[in-house]
């Protein structure tokens, strides 16, 4: 029923729609890049332009000279990676149980997810601070990672539970009937099918941790340990005054790793491993 012409029209429409989406999502970012390369007088211009008239890297130089961006980036990277991997490793088994075993555990998990996410975090932070202090984890990245893991767990659980539910349980049962061991079934049948979901979840946890500000602000004291979002606010002054050029330059750099991580692993999320697995 779909002739080549209508197909072409549909395709064109799809590309057009995609373009509109990308414009909406990317233009503010382009504006950030443009700001990062503008000299100070141009930032105060009444008629801003997309392309800097007099592009400069002075903002980048100033950003690096004024704030320890590299060290902060290393801290952020360590914390975010550790948090993402730990969260997934810890959450996947629980999500599996929750999804496969209906009943109170599932209900309790759901309930906790709602309560923990709905409760204002500003109220949790002081008791949390005291708990971590008792564990001697204030001012350590380990403490911060723990908080990030717990903070991303509800979401990780929800997502992973959804992904597990979407897998037909018959596959595992078939493998069990074939005589495969339980762990082997999990690792050789379930895990590969779950991989896109796991990677997506890890990505969530990574980016959440990478961007997180409030906990890092409160938990880390010494400058050597501070993470990027905290260091970024050092470009802000009182009354919302900001050192825009260097801030934009630093923010642009801080955004890159998340983009790179995503560009690298997005094939895995969407690699179509599933269809192959279902067939075999």
């Amino acid at each position: 029923m779909s002739g080549p012409r209508t197909r072409g029209a549909v395709r064109a429409g799809q590309y057009l729609a995609l373009l509109a989406y990308l414009a909406f999502l990317a233009l503010p970012f382009l504006w950030l890049i443009s700001t990062a390369f503008k000299p100070a007088p141009e930032l105060g211009s009444l008629h801003p332009t997309w392309i800097p008239e007099d592009p400069t890297v002075a903002n980048f130089r100033q950003a690096f000279a004024e704030q320890p961006l590299l060290r902060a980036a290393a801290n952020s990277l360590a914390a975010a990676l550790a948090a993402a991997v730990t969260a997934v490793v810890v959450a996947t088994p629980m999500a599996y149980v929750t999804a496969r075993r209906r009943g109170r555990l599932s209900a309790a998990t759901t309930g906790w997810v709602v309560v923990s996410q709905a409760f204002p975090f500003v109220l949790v932070i002081i008791p949390l601070f005291l708990v971590l202090k008792n564990l001697q984890l204030i001012n350590t990245l380990t403490g911060l990672v723990l908080v990030y893991v717990v903070w991303s767990l509800p979401f990780a659980l929800w997502m992973l539970t959804g992904y597990v539910r979407a897998l037909p349980a018959e596959l595992e049962e078939a493998a069990a009937v074939d005589g495969a061991g339980r762990l082997r079934t999990l690792l050789s049948v379930t895990a590969p099918l779950l991989a896109p979901g796991i990677v997506a979840t890890a990505l969530f946890a990574f980016i959440t941790a990478w961007n997180e500000f409030f906990f890092a602000l409160v938990l880390l004291k010494t400058p050597e340990k501070q993470t990027l979002p905290v260091v970024l606010t050092h470009f802000l002054g009182a009354e919302g005054v900001a050192d825009l050029g260097p801030l934009a330059a630093a923010a642009f750099l801080a955004t890159l790793p998340s983009l790179v991580v995503f560009a690298l692993i997005q094939r895995r999320i969407t690699g179509g491993m599933l269809s192959g697995a279902v067939k075999s």
Binding site: G44, A82, T86, V89, T222, K225, L236, E239
Partner: protein, 431 residues
């Protein structure tokens, strides 16, 4: 089989993180270590602070000061959490209007027994009042800025209006007239004055002092009450008239912060912008080539040039085991010469009388002289020591002023909200 690399990776990362965390702690050298959390953020000011810390450390090997970078944006939350958890820095940089709760809450040390006679005498009594809460003094006020009017020199001079000086400032009615005249000469879509009123309450109250406004009245029993007199009405009425009657001020800038108005100011859309004295730094950095500007005193009223300020402060945590040493460091930081360096770094005025005499703060370049001439008229910002003021400000006064300035409500409604709703809030803190 895919799971295995992930597990290995996780273990490696966990070890890595543990290693990082372990490596940071435990510098077991002898002597005292003081943590100094500074909020300096402009390059010159960060540099000045760091240099001073280095000089101190070189001269005092037994008392090492560690520079910790804080940020104005989040200082209150960060300090509150640190205090509650018992992990606050020893020396705390903040502003006097942020100190009340910390002082009343018992987190800050009373500095009276700790400060040197020199420092106490150097800083005027009016400044000390900004950090006096109840009986105690909980911070050393060291930098302050008056609100000034920064004007486009060409527009101002070509219009032929009288240019005010600290000795002969404009009155408020005169200011309104000048704004009207400037607007008339400038043409469509341009305005004589732009009011950046993202924080309308502090501007209204601080400038209100010049017209004799007080708003907060302390009774004989120590209870504070809001009353709205003629003096309180002068400044708000002027702004309201400029925006809604004369059209000499745009409505669009009412929600802006100070730096948001600069593009329009540079572009000739606004002839004058009332701004904090330190905004000169941004103007110097961002102004297009050939742009000329002047610093004018804010208008005067029955109260002369008086206006309220909330100086930047240095405080000591009550929990600090080394209060004596911390006080010595503050004393060092605020030696007249050093105070001048800090003031120049932040483009502000020092509170110390010795430092204020420094010729570099009295030059006419960048309007330093105008600001310095205003120093004597600066008073503690009204109400900053009133308990419940932050809540009154956020919940009652900010929305009320915003709606009044934009013309959504009239003066009677403004008064009703500030006074009736306001006193209800204050009453809760004074049971």
């Amino acid at each position: 089989m895919r799971a295995r690399p992930a597990v290995v990776l996780a273990v490696v990362l966990a070890l890595l993180v543990a290693g990082c965390a372990g490596g940071g702690g435990g510098g077991g050298e002898g002597g005292t270590v003081l943590r100094f959390q500074s909020l300096a953020w402009q390059k010159e000011s960060v540099d000045a602070n760091k240099e001073l810390v280095a000089e101190w450390n070189a001269a005092h090997p037994g008392i090492r000061v560690e520079y910790v970078q804080g940020s104005w944006d989040s200082v209150h939350d960060q300090l509150l959490t640190s205090f509650e958890g018992g992990e606050a820095p020893d020396i705390i940089h903040d502003a006097s209007d942020d100190l009340a709760d910390f002082a009343y809450g018992g987190y800050l040390a009373d500095l009276r027994p700790l400060l040197s006679g020199r420092l106490r005498a150097d800083i005027p009594e009016a400044s000390w009042r900004t950090t006096t809460f109840g009986e105690g003094v909980y911070g050393v006020p060291f930098l302050q800025e008056p609100r000034v009017i920064i004007a486009n020199r060409k527009i101002l001079e070509s219009s032929g209006v009288r240019v005010p000086t600290p000795a002969r400032p404009w009155t408020w009615p005169e200011f309104r007239q000048v704004a009207k005249e400037l607007t008339a000469t400038m043409g469509e879509g341009r305005y004589g004055v732009a009011w950046p009123l993202r924080e309308p309450v502090s501007v209204s109250l601080n400038l209100g002092l010049s017209a004799g406004g007080r708003l907060f009245h302390r009774g004989g029993d120590g209870r504070v009450e809001v009353r709205f007199g003629d003096g309180d009405a002068t400044v708000p009425a002027t702004v309201n008239a400029q925006v809604n009657t004369d059209r000499s001020a745009p409505r669009t800038t009412l929600g802006m912060g100070g730096s948001d108005t600069l593009p329009g100011f540079f572009g000739g859309m606004y002839a004058m912008v009332p701004l904090g004295f330190s905004y000169r730094q941004q103007i110097v950095r961002q102004a297009p080539e050939g742009f000329e500007w002047v610093v004018l005193p804010a208008p005067a009223g029955d109260g002369g040039l008086a206006q309220g300020v909330s100086p930047q402060t240095l405080s000591i945590a009550e929990d600090s085991p080394h209060k004596e040493e911390a006080a010595r460091f503050i004393d060092f930081l605020l030696q007249p010469d050093n105070m001048v360096r800090l003031a120049r770094g932040d483009w502000m005025l020092p509170t110390g009388t010795e430092a204020l005499k420094d010729p570099s703060l009295r030059t006419t370049e960048h309007g330093w002289a105008t600001g310095a001439a205003l120093a004597a008229s600066l008073r503690p910002a009204p109400a900053q020591s009133v308990r419940g003021y932050p809540e009154w400000k956020d919940k009652v006064a900010t929305p009320a002023y915003q709606e009044y300035y934009s013309g959504a409500i009239d003066a009677a409604e403004l008064e009703k909200r500030l006074v009736e709703d306001g006193n209800l809030v204050l009453a809760r803190y004074q049971r």
